[in-house]
């Protein structure tokens, strides 16, 4: 007599590849994010239409300016006249540096002009005025 071996078909979703999926996600986050380096000052960013993304996160210096004229770089309060020294050091570390200037939208232009002068003295001429998007 022939017995047909009855095999019970166990239908289970194969989860053997779950760690692989997680590793992919992990690699994605490691590549696209940057460890948070600074907190900055509380400011309200201005808004603009034609804004561009910063080219490379590694090559940016973040300078915060609030509407009273406080300047903060790397979470340290810097007096306006010392900004050029700090920026010159940053330029020496990375010649391709772009400064992301995050100034409050109500900052008087006098302060912005002073910051411009400091940047010009430090030769860090590539500046990006941080702004929020605004629909046209």
């Amino acid at each position: 007599m022939k017995f047909k071996a009855r095999t019970k078909a166990k239908s289970e979703i194969p989860t053997a590849s779950m760690p692989d999926v997680i590793f992919m996600l992990l690699v994605f986050f490691m590549v696209t994010t940057v460890l948070r380096e600074y907190e900055g000052l509380p400011i309200v960013l201005p808004s603009a239409v034609r804004i561009e993304k910063l080219e490379s996160r590694r090559n940016t210096a973040h300078v915060f300016v609030n509407k009273v004229g406080l300047v903060s770089i790397d979470d340290k309060r810097i007096p306006m006249s010392s900004v050029r020294n700090i920026m010159a050091v940053k330029l020496m570390d990375n010649i391709k540096i772009i400064t992301s200037l995050k100034a409050d939208r109500d900052t008087p232009m006098k302060i912005i002009t002073d910051v411009h002068q400091e940047f010009r003295h430090a030769q860090t001429l590539r500046v990006n005025y941080a702004a929020k998007t605004r629909a046209l």
Partner: protein, 132 residues
């Protein structure tokens, strides 16, 4: 009959690999940020760089404390500014736009002007020393 001893291969239990991966993932999610810094790019002129320009190729934009914009001494709105600069650029593509502000002009007003100049296609924007 020779009994062949079955060599059992003992595998390292890898059931916890997923847990380790999840932990690492949570760590990275918590400590990093997808910084979406966006803004208006600009290159400042170097110190001492004063180029000779033909006064015919310059147009002056002034922004006062209240944020009003004067284009060659004519009060304009931002959209009018964009339109006029577009026309001026069509006639003279070597046009240089000089932007001057007062010390109390707000940063937002300055950015609005730069933004509209960029939308009009002005490539040469010069930032003038503000009147003190």
């Amino acid at each position: 009959m020779i009994k062949r001893k079955r060599i059992e291969l003992k595998a390292i239990p890898s059931a916890s690999m997923a847990d380790i991966a999840f932990l690492l993932l949570v760590f990275f999610l918590v400590t990093t940020t997808i910084s979406m810094d966006k803004g208006l790019g600009m290159v400042l002129p170097a110190i001492g760089e004063e180029i000779e320009v033909n006064p015919k190729n310059i147009t002056k934009v002034l922004i006062n404390t209240a944020g009003q914009v004067l284009l060659d001494d004519e009060l304009v709105s931002l959209s009018q500014l964009k339109g006029k600069i577009k026309n001026m650029l069509a006639r003279n593509d070597k046009l240089i736009v000089s932007v001057k502000t007062t010390p109390r002009t707000k940063h937002q007003a300055y950015l609005d002007v730069i933004d509209n100049l960029r939308q009009a296609g002005a490539g040469r924007i010069s930032i003038a020393e503000p009147d003190m």
